[in-house]
Structures are given as C-alpha cells and as structure tokens.
C-alpha cells in the first residue's frame, strides 16, 4: 500500500507546477490548464486524506470541486473565445487596459 505521504508529495508537486505555470506562461489557455492542474492537485490531497482518515467527507468535497471546475471551465472558455475575437490574441500581457 502506498503511504499517504507519497500522495501528498505528488499533490504538492502538481500544485507547484500549476502555480509556476500560471505565473510564467503568457498563453491564456495554458494558464487555464495550469489552474485546472492546481485544482486537481488539491483533489488528490483531499482523496489522500480521505483514505488516511477513513472518512468520506474529503471524497464528497472532491465532487464539489469537480462540479465547480466544470462550471468554471465553461465560463472561462467562453471568456477566452470572446477575448480572442476581440483582440485576435491569447497573450494575457496584451490585455492590460485595466490599470490605475
């Protein structure tokens, strides 16, 4: 049986990859996928703890996260489509009009 710590380390690595991806990638679709990666890293941590503690709460929470992630994907992709139509670009650094 794989120890819980291994799952958590994997989760942390996935999360860190997601964070670095969001911060470094300029392609908005890549950023979006990195956000999904972070969410799934969190899901993995939930499941690991759920198994470790013999409680179902964590698994239920994962369903919620997946549902929200699906909704977010729908809205996010719609925004990206609108963005690409308006600006003919997917580079987020080109979209910086909202500044003080």
């Amino acid at each position: 049986m794989v120890p819980t710590a291994h799952y958590l380390v994997l989760s942390a690595i996935l999360f860190a990859i997601g964070v670095v991806g969001v911060l470094t990638r300029r392609n908005v679709i890549a950023m979006f996928m990195c956000i999904e990666l972070m969410l799934n890293a969190v899901n993995l941590a939930f499941l690991a703890f759920s198994r470790h503690l013999h409680q179902l709460d964590g698994q239920i929470f994962v369903f919620f996260v997946m549902t929200v992630a699906a909704a977010e994907a729908a809205v996010g992709l719609a925004l990206i489509v609108v963005l690409s139509r308006q600006k003919q670009t997917l580079d987020v650094d080109q979209v910086n009009e909202m500044k003080g």
Binding site: L23, T24, M31, V92, N96, G100
Partner: protein
C-alpha cells in the same frame, strides 16, 4: 361647538393652499372669492366662538383643544394645542376681522397687478400663521406662528421682487427679525429649564407658586422676560430693532395695513400681555420695557414729523404707537395695552388703506408735497381718513382717545411721572404729524397733475377718481370701528372698561401690587385727560397754521433748526450708525479674517491637504494595479504564502 374653535385656523390654510397650488390657472374673480371667503368663514366662526364664550361664566372662559402631540422626548412634551381665552378671542377677532376687510380691499387694489394668486395665497397664509400665533397654547407653537408671520411678511414686502429696493427691504425685515427671534427662542428655552414646560397655563401657575412676590434684583425671571422682550422688539419694531418697519413699506399698501400696522407688528405686545404672569414678577425688565417703549414712541414721532412719503409717515407713526403699547405693558397695564392694540388696528389699518386709495388715485405717487387738494376728488377717503386721524390724535370721543388716555393714566398712576410727561408730548407730536399729513394730502391746492413735472404720465392727466365700493366699503366700516371702538374701554369715571373686565381672566395670575392708595379721585383722572386732549388739539392747531394758514412757516422753522431738521429727515442716521457699527465690522471681519485667512488657508488648506495626502499615497499604490493578470496571480500567491507563514508561526 366651542372646542372646534381650532377650525378657525383651517380655512385660511385651505385658501392659501388652493390659491398657491392651482391659483395660476384660476380666474381673478375666483381667486378673490377663495381668498375672501376663507377669511370670512374664519371671522364668522371667531364671532360665534366669541358669542359662546360670553355666555359662559368669567371663570369658565379658558378652553384648550388638543389636536395631537407634537413633540415627545423624555421630559419634554409639546402638544399642537390651542387655547381659547378672552385675550386670544379678542386677538383672533381683530386678526380675522381686519384681515377680512383688507382682503376685500385688496381685491380692487391689486386688480391690475400681476401675481394676483400669489398675493392672495400669501395673505391667507399670513392669516393662518397669525391665528396659530394667537391661538397657540404653548410658547413653542407660538414660535411656529411667530416665524410663519415673519416669513409671510418677508414674502409680501418682497412682492414686487423685480424691484431691488423691495428685495432689499424684505431681506432687511427678515434678518432684523431673526435677531429678535434668537431672543424669543432663548427665552422659551429658559422657561422650559426653569418651569419644565412650555404650556402657558402650567408655566404661569408654577411661576406664581415659585415667585409669590416679584423678583428682587435681576434674576432668572428677569432674564426670561428680557429675552422674550428682545423677541418683541424685533417683531414689534421697537428700539433697537425698529429699522426694518419703515423699509417694509416697499410692499403693497394692503400688506402695510394688515401686517405692518394692524396685526403682525402687535404680536410682541400680545406676547408680553400673554406672559403677564411672568413680566409682572420681573420689575427690572418691566421698567426696561416701559423706557424702551416711550423712547421708541418719541424717536419715531420725531422722525414722522418731517418725512415726505405718505406711507413712511404712517410707518413711523405705527412704530410710535407700538411704543405706547409697550409703555402700557411696562407699567403693568396689560389690558390697556391690548385695548390700544385693538383701536390702533382699526384706525391705522384705515389710515393705510386710505393712503392706498390716494396712492392709486394719483398713479402711485407717494410724495406728500405732490398731493394736496384731493378733498373734492376723494370724498369718502377724505372723511374716513380724517376720522382715523382724529382718533389717533386722541380727540374725544373717538377710539384712540380712550385707549391712549388709559395708557397715560396708568403710567401716571404707577408713579412714572416722567414717562407720563413724555407720553403727553408724543401725543402732541402725533396729532401734529397726522394733521400735517391730512392737510398736505387733502387740503390746499393740487400740486400735481396740472404742472409739467408730471409730464411722463400725460396720458393719465385726467382727474383723480374715488376707487370702487370694494375699496371704500372697508374704509367706511373701519371708520365706524375707529370712531366707536373706544366705548368698550370707558375710563373708570364713566363706568369702567368692559374690555379690560372681559380680559381680566387672562391676566388673573399676574402679580398685583396690594399697596393702598389705589383710590385716586376721579377729578385727578379727568384733569389728566384734559391735559392729554389739549396736547392733541395743540398739535392739530399748530399743523393747521403751519401747513394751511402760513405755508412758509415750516421752511423758516426748518432753516432755524437746520441741524435737527436734517438729522430727523435722515432718520437720525440710525441706519448709517448700524451700518458703521455692526455691518461694516462684520463685513471687514469676513473679508480680511474669515475669507482671506480662515477660508483660503485653513479651510481650503484642510480640504486640499486631505486630497493631496491621498494622492501622494495612491501614486505609490497604483503601480500595483498594472493590468497584467500574471502579476495579480503573483500577488495572490504572495498573500497565500504570507497567510501560510502566519498560521505556521502562530500555531507552532
């Protein structure tokens, strides 16, 4: 029926609302009917109430009617309640009665003026506010009416608002009255602090319990009365706040008659008479009231001697007669003061309305020296005005004779010999300036219309005409009242004053000196009366010689006393002195200190400084909001890391 006397105030309010809101779309005759009918209904109701009051016993003639609780807060409860007693019923009869006559007169007088509905709306509003003032059963509600009549006065003085002088006069009246009102409201607060209520009857009862004898020295009661008196000097045009009343003549003449002669300006006298239970226990203040009253009477009479504008003569005459009323109150003869108030309302309203018909007949000519010889053109105006003029001069048996005599006799009786002498002199001056006005207006030869100096009005060259019956009717009714009203207040040697007997319950709680020697012989009273009448007749005779027999005489006298004459012509420079002593320093202070230092540097500095500080801070902060999504994500990460570290440190 009786408790519904509060309805008296309702009708004028309705009239004011209807004329004010939809009057622009109504025809002139409908506006006039609404205006007159509402006041007429009020007067009829007041008359019915008066009749019912007479049927009750003297001790039952105090009835209050509570409409609703107006203010309730901790110890303070103020009702919107109305008090009917002999004093308020006399006042309401005068207000609605004279008011009705002047409304009717205005129908014709204002017929050619624009803003007809506005005029009647204001006039009705005035009657409403004045009714609130005299019928209120506590000082706070009285203050509502007090301010309301001030507002109406302002609106009506400035009725011809396209004339700068009218606008200025309105502002002057309003501001000077506010100075007095500060005194009134402070006095009312002090009453609440001392007696714990604003209600008249409770205040007077507690005052008579707490002060069984008059206050020695200048204490709390004297302070209350002095503050109330400051309010009265504003509203009733006494020294030092009388300066607004002569300027108030900028308003239409019926307004001068109603507000600035017959009713509103007597509010101060009414208020002091109403507070007789307080004033009679504050001898220090009472003396101040008497001295101010007689000083005002003298000063105003002196100025009236030399004014050439017909309305200004009457305005100063009003100030002077109000001085008499304050003299009456000051010597403790509150009933005599109210008596003079009533008779004065009749004859002064008549004089103003008469002058209005003269002014209208001469196409808005107000200079006495451009009138003359109008006797044959305006017979009704001529006769009625002479009756009023003789009444104010104290010629028996007209009304002014009885009321003025009652005041002077009371002043003498209470040991104020000096005040009596000055009062007699003022009576002579009054007779002189009134006769001067009459001789210059109606007698002699016409000084206008025939000469070229009036050429601008060439098309009006036809002869002056008596106005319609709508105007002469009220003149005749007022003339009858001015002639016979005195018989309700006969002196003791003719059977005593029925009016003062009727008013007695309203003054029941005042302090009465129980000293002996009250009994004076009738012969001394008659002797004093004869002196007063002789003084008045002397004034008339001198005026006759000076302005009819020997028209050169006034010029010679003026030349001999040129300093005094020009000082009186310039109203003793009181306006200029106020300007120099009060207005100029305030303007300089505002300009040099308040504007250039406080406003520019302190206030603007604070405001600009606050803005500048925020700008300074945000110039740094706004670099954070750079529009790059990934930099925001980095900030979010930084925040998350910081929170993580924080919890790690705290929980560790």
């Amino acid at each position: 029926m009786l408790p519904y006397f509060a309805l008296i105030i309702l009708f004028p309010l309705l009239g004011a609302l209807v004329n004010g809101v939809v009057g622009k779309r109504l025809s002139r005759s409908l506006i006039a009917v609404i205006g007159c009918l509402t006041v007429g209904l009020s007067f009829a109701l007041a008359a019915v109430v008066f009749r019912e009051l007479l049927l009750l016993g003297p001790d039952e003639r105090t009835i209050s009617f509570k409409l609703f609780t107006w203010i309730e807060s901790a110890d303070l409860t103020v009702d919107a309640a109305f008090l009917l007693d002999p004093l308020s019923v006399v006042m309401i009869l005068v207000v609605t009665g004279v008011g009705l006559l002047i409304h009717i007169y205005s129908v014709a007088y204002m017929a050619d003026e624009p803003g007809y509905y506005r005029f009647f709306s204001y006039l009705n509003l005035f009657i409403f506010m004045m009714s609130v003032l005299v019928l209120a059963d506590n000082y706070l509600l009285m203050f509502v009416g007090w301010e309301g009549v001030g507002l109406c006065s302002y609106l009506l003085i400035g009725f011809y608002f396209d004339r700068k002088s009218a606008g200025d006069a309105a502002k002057k009246a309003f501001i000077v009255n506010r100075i007095g009102d500060v005194g009134f409201i402070l006095g009312a607060f002090l009453i609440f602090r001392t007696f714990g209520t604003f209600n008249y009857l409770q205040v007077f009862e507690r005052a008579s319990e707490q002060f069984p004898s008059p206050e020695v020295g200048f204490g709390i009661l004297s302070a209350i009365c002095l503050l109330l008196f400051v309010g009265a000097t504003g509203k009733s045009a006494q020294i030092p706040l009388y300066v607004w009343l002569p300027d108030a003549m900028e308003g239409p003449t019926p307004v001068s008659a109603l507000i600035h002669a017959a009713t509103m300006v007597t509010a101060g006298v009414y208020m002091i008479a109403r507070s007789s239970a307080l004033f009679s226990r504050a001898p220090e203040t009472l003396l101040i009231v008497a001295v101010i009253g007689v000083a005002t009477a003298t000063l105003a009479a002196c100025i009236a001697l030399v004014q050439t504008d017909i309305k200004r003569v009457l305005a100063y005459s009003t100030v002077s007669q109000l001085g008499y009323m304050f003299l009456a109150a000051g010597v403790g003869a509150f009933g005599a003061g109210i008596f003079h108030l009533v008779t004065h309302a009749f004859f002064k309203a008549l004089l103003f309305l008469g002058s209005g018909s003269v002014i209208l007949a001469l196409h808005h000519e107000q200079d006495l020296f451009r009138m003359g010889g109008l006797k044959k053109y305006l017979p009704a105006t001529f006769w009625t005005m002479w009756i009023a003029s003789l009444a104010i001069s104290g010629v028996p048996p007209l009304s002014g004779f009885f009321s003025k005599d009652e005041i002077l006799f009371n002043a003498f009786l209470l040991g104020h010999g000096v005040l009596w002498v000055i009062g007699i002199v003022v009576a002579a001056l009054t007779a002189f300036y009134m006769s001067r006005l009459m001789f210059l207006t109606f007698h002699g030869t016409r000084r206008t219309g025939t000469t070229a100096d009036h050429g601008g009005h060439g098309e009006h060259g036809h002869e002056p005409k008596e106005p319609s019956f709508l105007m002469t009717g009220p003149l005749m009714i007022l003339a009858i009242l001015a002639a016979v009203a005195g018989f309700v207040g006969l002196p003791a040697y003719l059977g005593g004053s029925r009016l003062e007997h009727f008013l007695e319950p309203s003054f029941a709680l005042r302090y009465v000196q129980s000293s002996g020697g009250e009994h004076h012989s009738f012969s001394s009273e008659i002797a004093l009366t004869v002196i007063a009448v002789l003084a008045g007749l002397t004034g008339i005779v001198i005026a006759y010689y000076a302005y009819l027999r020997d028209p050169e005489l006034p010029g010679r006298v003026a030349g001999r006393l040129s300093g005094l004459y020009s000082a009186a012509r310039q109203k003793f420079y009181v306006d200029e002195i106020y300007d120099r002593l009060i207005i100029w320093p305030i303007q300089r202070l505002s300009d040099v200190v308040l504007w250039r230092v406080i406003d520019v540097h302190v206030i603007d500095g604070l405001v600009n400084g606050a803005g500048g500080l925020v700008q300074y801070w945000s110039s740094g902060l706004r670099r954070i909001q750079n529009g790059y999504t990934r930099s925001y994500a980095a900030w979010v990460l930084l925040g998350a890391v910081l929170i993580f570290i924080y919890y790690y440190v705290v929980t560790a």
